[in-house]
Symmetry: C2
Subunit: 211 residues, 2 copies
């Protein structure tokens, strides 16, 4: 049986580059799986069911809530978004490290259910750089960018609750840092309760035989 | 100014191979420093002052205790052993990761003074392997080996207080795992309070200007 994977939650400001980092991680290594969210909103052009999202009806989503089938969920405007538990559990037991790319409120909910989850926050080296990145995307109006900056300022208050703060100054270095953090997380004592019990039993047996 | 180093505390049963792992780490990379203990016991053949230990008088050692110049200390039989703070602080501010190779009681005392310290426990894959390693050293009587095993069984109760449990099955892999853990520790949010404050200040300024 494969060693159970790590549950890693990755958050970051819009414009932090976290999406690109996760894509790189998934394309370079085969021990990671990206969790796919469920949503009640309609698919946009090019979005595929089971790849970008699980697109479900409101009835279906509310049934998942009732049956505790979601790791976390939230409602934005009139749509639900959430993380289906089954997919995450399946990948974890296959030994994959599962990455959840969700925002801070959801991240903290996940930690309540999975105390061993590793929480990473990704951000650019400074605030001006963040503004610059949003600006050069060229897809949003100045007003939308200002709203995103105000939201980022709010999110910044929650970073202290994350285990790791990863600065995205250089893509390759950042991917390497995230990988290092996930690798180290496998050795945490909290994940090795079973092994510890085995060791204690072995000592008991050994010392008994010795008498 | 160099980023402050990590304080890493490494413990392990006698026979765990932790000494060899630390030597390898120090010889392969130049960003580590090994803390040198102070002791009141007499030097053994081949031991050098300032390399293996700082050999000091009992008066000197007790003065260090009074002046809070030790990170931790303990008395075994009639001798004192302790970790001088000045050397550790000097290396940390040079940006070196400082490794303290001490036993569990001392490790937990260090954590009280340095909450950001990273605690690693190294052990062989299982208890029989531990016995086997002590046995094949050939330097100790069966009685001494049995005492060490009994002591190891006691220490095993404290492993749960460590951050990481590293299995020493293969030297190279184990060195790599320890290095990964130390590298990841640099990104911990708890170490980046200053950066977080800067970011929050930058957001405040930015949002003020935007109004």
């Amino acid at each position: 049986m494969a060693e159970r994977g790590i549950l890693a939650v990755v958050s970051g400001f819009a414009g932090s580059g976290k999406g690109t980092i996760m894509q790189e991680l998934l394309s370079r290594y085969d021990n990671y799986a990206l969790s796919i969210s469920a949503t009640t909103r309609a698919p946009r052009a090019g979005e595929e069911h089971g790849r970008h999202y699980f697109f479900v009806s409101t009835e279906e989503f509310e049934r998942m809530i009732r049956e505790d089938a979601l790791l976390e969920h939230a409602r934005y405007v009139s749509n639900y978004y959430g993380t289906p538990k089954a997919y995450v559990e399946e990948k974890l037991s296959e030994g994959k490290d599962v990455i959840l790319e969700i925002e801070a409120q959801g991240a903290l909910l996940v930690r309540e259910k999975y105390p061993d989850a590793v929480l990473l926050f990704v951000m650019p080296p400074d605030v001006n750089e963040l503004y610059h990145r949003l600006k050069t995307r060229g897809t949003e109006t100045e007003e939308v960018i200002r709203k995103r900056m105000a939201r980022a300022a709010e999110e910044a208050e929650l970073i202290v609750k994350y285990d790791y703060l990863v600065i995205n100054d250089d893509l390759d270095e950042c991917v390497a840092r995230v990988r290092t953090i996930l690798q180290a997380s496998h050795e945490r004592t909290g994940r090795q309760a079973e092994r510890l019990n085995t060791i204690k039993e072995q000592f008991k047996l050994f010392l008994k035989e010795e008498k």
